[in-house]
Symmetry: C2
Subunit: 341 residues, 2 copies
DNA sequence: TCAAGGAACTAGAACGTTCTAGAACTCCGT
DNA sequence: ACGGAGTTCTAGAACGTTCTAGTTCCTTGA
């Protein structure tokens, strides 16, 4: 029975409780609990034993209050965004071995970025990792003046001092998708974009550039889309009524592509027989056997690792050169792309 | 320019900084910042002005350390679970007006429930809200001995003292779905279940009971499924090869149902023309125009509100009667159910 | 005029930890 | 026996708040 409520009085056990039970000073208990050096082997075990017996757990808040460093990274993420979930998962994994804790703050309906960031700041995070932040650049710059800030998946023009950027080369990804389709023989390739979403502008540009590079400038067609299935389906509806209908579509992301797939399926357009569809992100969604989506893969683990790495580097005072890390995406060819009919 | 770094020295401004600038004691500044009574109108404004000028923000951790109450609710959720995201959103919304803060701790690959709960405890949360916890009942009971614990969407047999349960009447929901299908004229109705997932057993039971009630006991057919699109699609594959094929399917949840829909679509089985499909949850997914899924709606806002309510009630020492709150689901009829062919 | 009562304000002790000094003890070589 | 040089341990001051118990100063009513 490892965790009986323990201490007679109802309160949570403290250092002092452990100390008195083990017959040592609180300072020594502190040393033992942290695994710091300065305690003898025998006492160390006696203290640990006492701590175990009364179910002592160090109070993270008191600990942070006293120590100058908090070793806390604040992460702002969008609750409804599967891609963010993947990133958070990677961030947890990267932070642990680096000796940092994560504080999560969600952006949701009725809880804007401003509020999300404020709570992180109040919790004394040492650095901020913002996933796809939509806040104005000026606001981000202001934040970056106060503490290290890493923006993930959002491009920011002038390298504001103190502001790190980790992102995928969205333009290159879109280009890879176009190259792949062209190699298959496609010429009439449309793009359903992501509007004002982070990364959308770059993907648009990458699409345009690649089309031009292949001498297909006249066939460039960009439809307003978005990051949800619904918006993808809506754009696909428009597309399926157009003549001539393009033979391939590059969607803004996987969710959007799923909507596109679904609508085509329903309106009797075969994929990839009648039209090819390519997504972006390589989220869990794309890998599902029955979806089997050709998509531009973002290296989530790498993005997360770099984000944590940059934040930690800044905190540990390493002189780091560039303010931007751009990861090359790689195309994952699956079942939704084939030569044109 | 509201938030210039301020204080000459690099540190974050504190109560004492504000106090010396406004020419009052720290205690008074504390009073003003909390909006407590005991300060004159004029000084109040002078203090606030000073605080604004140096960009002071109270340190949440120091605050919690001192005050006996932390007003913090710890929420454990599954990162990859859209339904949990919805719940978290509702919990944020409910906690704010009740004067409580939320600390999030995610369950993800490489970060189990044990670890998630530990960090919440270390952060001195006053109560725990666990979304669909998978931990053994004994472990939950042990936790409940230490602080108020609310389990959402997981049924627990014996009412462990200190353990609150808030859940949807899963059996009733499954029953409603069957009733609806039977009313449309269906008899051969299959169920793709959720295996060991929280709520799955109840939904299975509800399905069985309703089938028996309608005298369709012999047609009961339960296929092993799961909570993802993939598992749904897999089960649907099996189903579409069976003869006679059922005329309707009740899926474990909306994600599972989406997989089912998708596979039927691909194998040329019309929905609802050839077969009806009903989901469970009424998540965002189900509402998408192109999916338009008939589903059993869980009242997320209500579940979240009750979870927070129970936790708060327990904390404020209200004597609350039952240990379980069961919400009645309600069927949302959309486009994937129709009379059998 | 005076006491009573309240409003405005403050000193200083908490909260549970870590950190800085320094004390006490051991272990050595001389 | 003596002076380092480690070790192991401890007292007590932080950290940034809130809380308790005052103190001071104003009203006000008799």
């Amino acid at each position: 029975m490892p965790a009986t409520p323990a201490v007679p009085n109802g309160k949570r056990p403290t250092l002092a409780d452990v100390a008195s039970r083990a017959g040592v000073s609180t300072a020594l208990v502190s040393i033992v609990m942290r695994g710091a050096k300065g305690a003898g082997q025998a006492t160390r075990e006696r203290v640990l034993q006492a701590a175990r017996e009364i179910g002592y757990r160090p109070d993270a808040r008191a600990r942070l209050l006293r120590s100058h460093r908090s070793h806390l990274l604040g992460v702002q993420f969008g609750l409804q965004h599967p891609f963010h979930s993947d990133l958070v998962e990677g961030i947890y994994a990267a932070a642990e071995p680096a000796g940092y804790q994560i504080a999560l703050s969600a952006v949701a309906a009725g809880r804007g970025e401003q509020r999300a960031v404020e709570t992180l700041l109040d919790d004394r995070c040492e650095a901020l990792i913002l996933l796809g932040p939509q806040a104005p650049a000026a606001r981000l710059a202001e934040l970056a003046g106060q503490l290290p800030v890493v923006s993930v998946a959002r491009r920011l023009r002038p390298s504001v001092p103190g502001l790190e950027v980790v992102r995928t080369a969205d333009d290159e990804g879109a280009g890879q998708a176009v190259d792949h389709l062209v190699a298959l023989g496609h010429r009439d390739i449309a793009h359903i974009d992501g509007g004002r979403a982070p990364g959308a502008a770059d993907r648009r540009r990458g699409y345009r550039t690649a089309m031009n590079r292949h001498g297909l400038g006249e066939l460039i067609r960009i439809l307003p889309g978005g990051l949800t299935e619904e918006e993808g389906a809506e754009a696909a509806r428009t597309l399926s009524a157009t003549r001539p209908r393009p033979t391939a579509v590059l969607a803004f992301n996987d969710r959007c592509a799923t909507g596109v797939l679904d609508l085509f399926l329903r309106s009797g357009v075969a994929v990839p027989g009648g039209i090819s569809v390519v997504g972006f992100d390589d989220s869990h969604l794309a890998r599902l056997a029955h979806i089997d989506l050709t998509t531009v893969g973002q290296d989530v683990a790498r993005l997360a690792g770099l984000a944590v790495g940059r934040a930690v580097a800044r905190l540990e005072g390493a002189e780091i050169p560039a303010g931007e890390q751009v990861i090359t995406p790689r195309l994952v060819v699956r079942g939704t792309s084939a030569p044109p009919p």
